[in-house]
């Protein structure tokens, strides 16, 4: 038995947002009586952090601390329309809607503060810590809380905003396929190092090095979680997962996690990530959605590394030990490939 080391590369780009367009999202922002802000949405938090990202976007746009913003989402009686959390559209579409709603609420807030301070609203700025001050004169200031109280109990004004973001439906040409498919692209490149046992056909991924370009890491911790988890899913797709192991034959379909194979938490491989940020012009603060694309480059990189290790091209997923072993036998033994 010999264990062969292999190394594979792959790079991808990924379209952000629902491809055909026509998928609006709305947001509402309003101030509570003491200057906290509620963001009302219908977006779904699948664990990807929808609530966190929209909360940060609202706080940044309003110019208030994130602790003073709460996101209330997914009650159809109170949250305005949103198409849903799919197609890497959440951050882009909902985030832009939240910017618009929060910008309108900020404009109302600045007008109310200007009335209290008896200045022009254009001369005011926020410090991000709950205060509104005259530009260049931080001493002349009013808190956001006092502004909200004055607006609602003295001036009779709401500090609220509405936002919608829509990319209209793109026609697709039947003959050429011409279309405006998406608004921006995320990018990634990965190098996978692995070992293949030529007696069992078993593949063990040992290390991943990657670069992911995400526009802007709106929340770097959540980006890290997505990239590590997504890359794990990509490896799992490449080597383990399927509901139909003998596709297109439907037999032997797994019905539980004993037969539907996935690597466990102990199999998470060391993954060294570099995050690149090239902001997209129409994305909220430049941020693209890293959630979907992070798995994609792992599948071909694993396949390419297996070929590099033992000379077996597995063009059918998942790359089970059976397929690797049959490939090695068909080639008359492992044939490690030259690295150019």
């Amino acid at each position: 038995m010999t264990v062969h080391k292999g190394r594979g590369f792959a790079c991808i780009n990924y379209p952000i947002g629902m491809n055909l367009g026509g998928d609006p999202s709305q947001a509402l922002v309003h101030s509570t009586p003491d200057g906290k802000f509620m963001v009302s949405l219908s977006a779904i938090d699948l664990g990807q952090g929808m609530k966190s990202v929209t909360r940060q976007i609202a706080a940044e746009t309003l110019g208030v601390p994130v602790a003073d913003v709460y996101v209330d989402t997914a009650d159809s009686d109170t949250g305005p329309h949103d198409m849903g959390s799919f197609a890497s559209r959440g951050t882009h579409r909902v985030g832009n809607a939240v910017i618009r709603a929060a910008a309108e609420a900020r404009a109302a807030m600045m007008e109310a503060a200007a009335e209290e301070l008896e200045v022009n609203p254009a001369d005011l700025d926020t410090d991000g810590e709950g205060n509104i001050h005259v530009k260049g004169a931080p001493g002349r200031s009013i808190t956001v809380a006092d502004t909200a109280i004055a607006a609602q109990f003295k001036q009779g004004k709401t500090l609220s905003g509405r936002g919608i973001f829509l990319i209209p439906t793109s026609e697709v040409d039947a003959d050429t396929g011409e279309m405006t498919p998406v608004s921006c692209f995320a990018h990634a490149a990965v190098v996978v190092d692995l070992e293949v046992d030529d007696e069992t056909g078993e593949v063990t991924v040992s290390e991943v090095n990657s670069a992911y370009e995400v526009g802007r890491a709106l929340n770097p911790k959540m980006v890290e979680q997505q990239l590590i988890g997504g890359a794990w899913m990509g490896i799992s797709h490449a080597l383990y997962e399927t509901t139909e192991p003998y596709y297109p034959n439907r037999s032997h379909g797994p019905q539980d996690y004993n037969t539907y194979l996935m690597p466990g938490p102990g199999d998470v491989v060391p993954h060294h990530i570099a995050v690149l940020e090239r902001p997209a012009e129409d994305a909220p603060f430049g941020g693209k959605g890293p959630g979907e694309m992070c798995a994609n480059p792992l599948l071909p990189a694993v396949a390419n590394a297996i070929y590099n290790a033992v000379g077996v091209r597995c063009d059918t997923l998942p790359i089970t030990p059976e397929k690797v072993l049959r490939g090695i036998q068909a080639n008359g033994g492992a044939q490690p490939r030259e690295m150019f």
């Binding site: 790079c11 219908s42 996101v71 396929g177 929340n219 509901t243 063009d315």
Partner: protein, 614 residues
């Protein structure tokens, strides 16, 4: 141990990194609930007298239903209601009808002909799940088993069994014209003729389960005023609400959907199979009804990532330049459309991958087979073709004996390049990702490859839309009459030509409806686009031909409308005698310590009671 670094040095001149909340590792507002097991998911909503729903499902790949006998189930203990196909008010739908794409092809409960193993036929509501399962077991469905087809290419044979009567050719109808989606850019045959090498490959994905921890489900209950509340695991609240309203022929105002905290989705919770049946069950029984997949159903009846089969043919020069690339793709949609038709459009717009290739052609088919319908999953429409493209790139690299990373950098798209779907590339960063990943892995690349940049070398000749060869092969129904080839251009009786430079205006986002909704350009985090109100948006691609104008962000608000105090004069109603003296206006209420009571938890408004978010 894993590690992460943020390469702030790259593209630094395009970013403003002085934002206050964006870019911070802010903890999730709901994380304490998640890690202490207190966050309410749909299944945590408890109701007195909750009823449980289970479905009778097809054991056959393909069979006509002669009759359904539920009389024994009706008499089973605990059974409160048996729902038959004719009980569904509007029993035909396709998910994307919400954006007017495709024909209604799928019943909520199938009463005529089942087209996959597991297709629901009858739903039974009982007092316990056990009773519902027992009642399911005694329903007698008389099936006439029909021939079935499971392979996408066999399904395109002229004599293949018809999976869905809505699409009798076993393919989705694109644009009322073709049985596939075409992409044509330049002339691939000319490219192949010029090439030094032809590299071909066939790639096959298999179906994959989204595998969420929480299986798909919903609980519906009657509210007052003839409304229904529905707690759901959906990924798309209004998608599910709209689908329910359509299938049940109900005004959407009668539906109150609550969700938002989901135990894993990955694309498998868009299909809206549970909400309509739960609401219907609640309507028919007047009681709360829960309908969920068990794990086996989640894995075999719940829609997976569909299998895709891709054929790629490249024309490559000795120096590694790819001069022509052709795709033939087959998406296995299963028995119904769900979202596969849309994924093909998305995949087509993605071709030929992140590379600038002067001649590209593609035919992609949405094929119906007698298996569980496919649906979205992380990377939908892209994951399969990316696997194919990137395996193929390594085959090309081996053919021309080239470092695979250098091959990608050589062919990479750059700012200002024309993409095959006739839009200019912008904001690209593939080359930098290749360079950084190679550096991290210590995989050496040439000095020339290391010096390349996404910002340079694009545009110019690479921005031109070439004269394009078209064909009209594969019209709807043609393949049913006689076997014709599936690859682009093959089997065409004549070829057409679209002039060079042909394109229509790109679609851009609708601008904000009011100036107040525009964020101050100096606060957007973009250094180029938002340097100041006086600076026009910087053209991202100076090399681009003049007719290209990148979608400009909405006009920046240059001046906030000047402040005008509210009118002071009281409005006098002429019909009423004006009082001689205005009574002094009461002092507006101004609490000194307003609303300071209530719960004080980080991130929770004090005005929310402690119970509402329990």
């Amino acid at each position: 141990m894993s590690s992460i670094e943020f390469r702030k040095d790259l593209f630094a001149d395009e970013r403003d990194d002085t934002l206050k909340e964006i870019g911070k590792p802010t903890i999730r507002q709901d994380i304490l609930g998640h890690v202490t097991g207190r966050s309410p998911y749909f299944d945590d909503h408890l109701f007195d007298g909750l009823l449980h729903m289970r479905c009778v499902r097809s054991p056959h790949h393909h069979a006509r239903i002669r009759s359904i006998d539920t009389s024994a189930a009706d008499r089973m203990p605990g059974v409160r209601r048996v729902i038959r196909p004719e009980d569904v008010p509007n029993n035909l739908n396709t998910l994307l009808s919400l954006i007017n794409f495709g024909k209604d092809d799928e019943a909520l409960l199938q009463g005529k002909k089942v087209a996959y193993v597991g297709e629901p036929v009858v739903a039974i509501i009982a007092e316990t799940e056990r009773q519902a399962r027992d009642a399911v077991a005694v329903v007698r469905v008389d099936y006439e088993v029909l021939p079935h087809v499971l392979d996408v290419e066999e399904a395109l044979e002229p004599n293949a069994p018809v999976v869905s009567e809505t699409y009798p050719n076993n393919t989705f109808d694109y644009h009322d014209l073709y049985d596939h989606q075409k992409l044509r850019f330049g002339d691939v045959d000319k490219g192949f003729a010029e090439a030094d090498h032809i590299v071909e490959g066939r790639y096959q994905m298999s179906p994959i389960e989204q595998a969420p921890t929480e299986t798909c489900g919903a609980i519906a209950a009657p509210e007052t005023n003839n409304r229904f509340v529905c707690y759901t695991s959906t990924q798309a609240l209004f998608f599910s609400l709209g689908t329910t309203a359509k299938l049940l022929n109900m005004p959407s105002s009668q539906l109150h959907f609550i969700g938002g905290t989901v135990g894993g989705g990955f694309g498998g919770k868009v299909d809206s199979l549970h909400e309509p049946l739960a609401v219907l069950g609640s309507k028919l029984t007047g009681a709360p009804v829960k309908f969920t997949f068990d794990r086996a159903e989640e894995m075999q009846v719940g829609a997976p990532r569909g299998a895709e089969r891709w054929f790629i043919k490249d024309g490559v020069m000795n120096d590694g330049r790819i001069v022509a690339r052709q795709f033939t793709g087959f998406f296995d949609s299963g028995a119904y459309t769900r979202l596969s038709s849309y994924a093909i459009i998305k995949g087509t717009g993605h071709l030929p991958g992140p590379y600038s290739i002067p001649n590209v052609a593609s035919n992609v088919y949405c094929v119906y087979t007698n298996r569980t319908p496919a649906t979205a999953m992380r990377g939908f429409g892209i994951t399969g073709v990316d696997f194919s493209i990137e395996c193929h790139m390594d085959k090309v690299a081996e053919t021309v004996r080239m470092n695979p990373i250098e091959l990608r950098i050589l062919n990479s798209y750059r700012d200002g390049d024309m993409k095959a779907h006739r839009r200019l590339a912008k904001n690209t960063a593939l080359i930098e990702c290749c360079q950084v990943a190679a550096g991290k892995a210590k995989w050496p690349i040439s000095a020339d490859a290391a010096a390349q940049s996404s910002l340079q070398g694009g545009g110019g000749d690479r921005a031109i839309i070439p004269e394009t060869v078209t064909d009209q092969a594969g019209r709807i129904g043609e393949r049913r009459r006689s076997k014709i080839p599936t690859a682009p251009g093959e089997g065409a009786t004549s070829k057409g030509r679209v002039a060079a430079g042909s394109s229509v205006a790109p679609i851009v986002a609708v601008p904000p409806q009011r100036d107040d909704m525009v964020i101050d350009p100096s606060r957007t985090g973009h250094r180029k686009a938002g340097a100041g109100p006086a600076v026009p948006p910087v053209q991202a691609t100076p090399q681009a031909p003049p007719r290209y104008t990148p979608p400009t962000p909405a006009a920046p608000v240059q001046t906030i409308p000047s402040y005008t105090p509210p009118p002071a004069a009281p409005v006098v109603q002429p019909s009423q005698p004006a009082p001689a003296v205005q009574p002094p206006a009461p002092e507006p209420y101004q609490p000194s310590e307003p609303f300071q009571k209530g719960i004080k938890r980080p991130g929770v408004s004090r005005f929310i009671s402690g119970t509402r978010r329990r």
